[in-house]
Symmetry: C2
Subunit: 512 residues, 2 copies
Amino acid sequence: MNDCRLVFGANDSIKEGVILTNQVMQNFLYKRFLTTPDRVAFHYKGRDYSFADVYHESYKIAGQLTANGMKKGQFTGVLLKNNLETVFILFALQLIGVRAVILNNRLTSGEIGWQLQDSKAKFLITENAFDKVQTNIKYEFNDIITLFKETLAGKTNEPELVKEIALDDICTIMYTSGTTGHPKGVMQTYGNHLWSAIGSSLNLGLNDRDAWLCTVPLFHISGFSILMRSIIYGMKVVLIDAFDERAVIQLIHKEKVTIMSAVSTMLTKMLDDLDGESLPEAFRCLLLGGGPASRSLLEVCKQNGIPVYQTYGMTETSSQIVTLSPEDSLAKLGSAGKALFPSQLKVMNESGTEAVPNEPGEILVKGPNVTSGYLGHEEITAEKINDGWLSTGDIGYIDEDGFLFVLDRRSDLIISGGENIYPAEVEGILNSHPGVSDAGVIGMKDVTWGEVPVAFVVIKKNHDTCHDELESFCNEKLAKYKIPKRFFIVDEIPRNASKKILRRELRKMIHM
Amino acid sequence: MNDCRLVFGANDSIKEGVILTNQVMQNFLYKRFLTTPDRVAFHYKGRDYSFADVYHESYKIAGQLTANGMKKGQFTGVLLKNNLETVFILFALQLIGVRAVILNNRLTSGEIGWQLQDSKAKFLITENAFDKVQTNIKYEFNDIITLFKETLAGKTNEPELVKEIALDDICTIMYTSGTTGHPKGVMQTYGNHLWSAIGSSLNLGLNDRDAWLCTVPLFHISGFSILMRSIIYGMKVVLIDAFDERAVIQLIHKEKVTIMSAVSTMLTKMLDDLDGESLPEAFRCLLLGGGPASRSLLEVCKQNGIPVYQTYGMTETSSQIVTLSPEDSLAKLGSAGKALFPSQLKVMNESGTEAVPNEPGEILVKGPNVTSGYLGHEEITAEKINDGWLSTGDIGYIDEDGFLFVLDRRSDLIISGGENIYPAEVEGILNSHPGVSDAGVIGMKDVTWGEVPVAFVVIKKNHDTCHDELESFCNEKLAKYKIPKRFFIVDEIPRNASKKILRRELRKMIHM
């Protein structure tokens, strides 16, 4: 609207004279509690919890957190297992306006320490299960108070609730890596989460019999976004701690699940277990994310009547941004669909202009669910987001009917069992070993995990660093899923003129 | 979040360094066309129109409008009958970023002229049916170009589409009166309409079999909001030019209507026609607005299995803001429900503090669907809207479970067959008659219309103004539904110390 020449000042009066009320809303959980307190919010380990239950539990914890010194506007690390108590804690933080830096359960002490310091967190909420990991965290800059879930109840007070939230206030931080080493904290605002939920409901529909099964990690946006949908929609969520195909299929039947989020690995296991049996008719959507699915997998689902909706999203888009609509799910098998109603999508070719239909290029996305940037990294933010358009680094094309086909998540990104592995991060660790002069990491196809990371390493002269040593070195510094499954000792890492690793040359070396 | 002391500047970087992308979205119709072009958008006079049809028709008209000189950012009056062509014209205006001042079909030339001049409209789009009304409009200030729909096609060009809209940009203006005479233009932004549709869907649910019957005027927010839901949801709308109970019931069956908006008068007629017969099971919601419904009417509906959802809303809230949820429709018969998810509600008692449960007072509402104010009237806006809270002037209470019961729309407001009549406006006209020294107008109960206006008039000494003369005087200046059905000649209009009319004294005079 930049070139809009106003006939008179009506628009000005909106912007200057009046408060922009569309930026403020009631705290989502509090509002949901006021609106439908008796509806089932969660089914967990055989028991139903109403929105009133969830609100009261979260309120109680909010009191414990403020009694321990937590204050509105602060950041806190959250390192917790996947269960209902974690849900209560995450909601408690929203009730008192504390921003959650949600930590992947599989990170090492070093990785956790880095994320906590980068986000300037004042607290870390964790539990006894992570005792060892917690003990080994070293903080270089600031003091961080650790609160163990098991002893939280020791202190309590009446928390001051943040009953109104600003939609552009930060709700959560989730770290992702890029091509440049250290992970960066993606800021997800209340508005980002709200618009993500709205975009999904405008595409998938919504009814009072909906129940969304959550078996994906709560520390990923895939899982966390289900919690947000629960309170925004007033919808039942069936929560299980960890994926198990048998348990999932039983719950789908017993709890009348209508929607579930999954990655290919899970779907494959479910299909094996189902062995040709179908799912109940009420089960209307299996939302399949975490990288492009194979055509053969999609075809088996089609034959078995599993309603798979391929979707494309990332931490930066607060979950789905492109999803295949009901009417196109069969005709456009293999496509991720079209941008959800609030969002936009385009593909830019190598010469920097918008691609024509079917021409591959980098995928760019825009919308109110897209992050406003990386915490404390204005420069990287400005590099990645222009006029609201986020450069995803992923490669794909849009066909003549407007459907997105994702060819490759970020040329270098490795997706292993739904977890993202950024080669640059692993390479950084390998390069920090005294015996290593250069390293390159790529993904290798794997039957179970889709992909696993493998490393190419150049050993310094007069060093005899062996495979085992490299592995145990990584073991100390990297979450298990990021540790290369194989190490190839090579003379040189192929690089282009600007010293960028030529990963396709590495792939050739192992005949992929 | 005003007292939020940030630990460091993360939040600042959102506000200053990065564009707030949640303020920008694709033009809704254009986006819907891109997303689901083949879905049915409208059923009208026996024919289905897809979203592609609607887009192409609107695009064509957009070209005709720009060829006639219309430019982005301008305001235009729209005085058109209720039909599909009007829908195309209203969407065409959105495609080129022109703000529609939507005019009630029943207004007189004088009323129309006033609204066009107050909004500084550059154009008036009308049709031959309003030829006489149009001819009699007198403009005192500015020149307004009249375009007749029938001759629009004479000129055309390739319109420059506004593909991205700012959510805080004005989409429509609808005039409402207040206690102070002249009507005021309520600014409804794209964001207001979007949030209204979202709030409704989060409450009523949404599925791909939904079809919303529109038999309420498109120049009211009740009808216009259905058009907006169509493009935002991708939902079929069954449109009829004018309410007819038999035609409505037939269409509900034939077109598998699931939702319809109605006022009590319509519902009563439908019940008579149904004569105990029920509506199809797929018909899941009759959204009943336009003032509090009688308990007896609601009970008859309950007996006949008509799923009535009472709702409360107004032009200033871009349609519904409070609606009764599915699970409470029986237990809370007669309540308007709770505030929709994005919105808030409170009742203030006479001493200016928030009312306790069951205590009546003035209803205040807040939310992203609430207007940012009255066009060109900053002072009145500031008077009516504080910290985002709009004082509705309506009276009600919230019970101990949080449900709103509306006791009275604005103590002086008359609702006649779903049309709002503002006594102050009618009194202003009466007082302008040379033979009248004072006038007071109130609503009188009426079997057919709910209420009709009646006037109390003090005749000047030495004048012998009679009933007939007053009626024909009103006939020239007021829309038919606003003309008092009876005139009582009185010696004095009862007024309080501050000269405010004591309407309850007037009511006593006719033993109501």
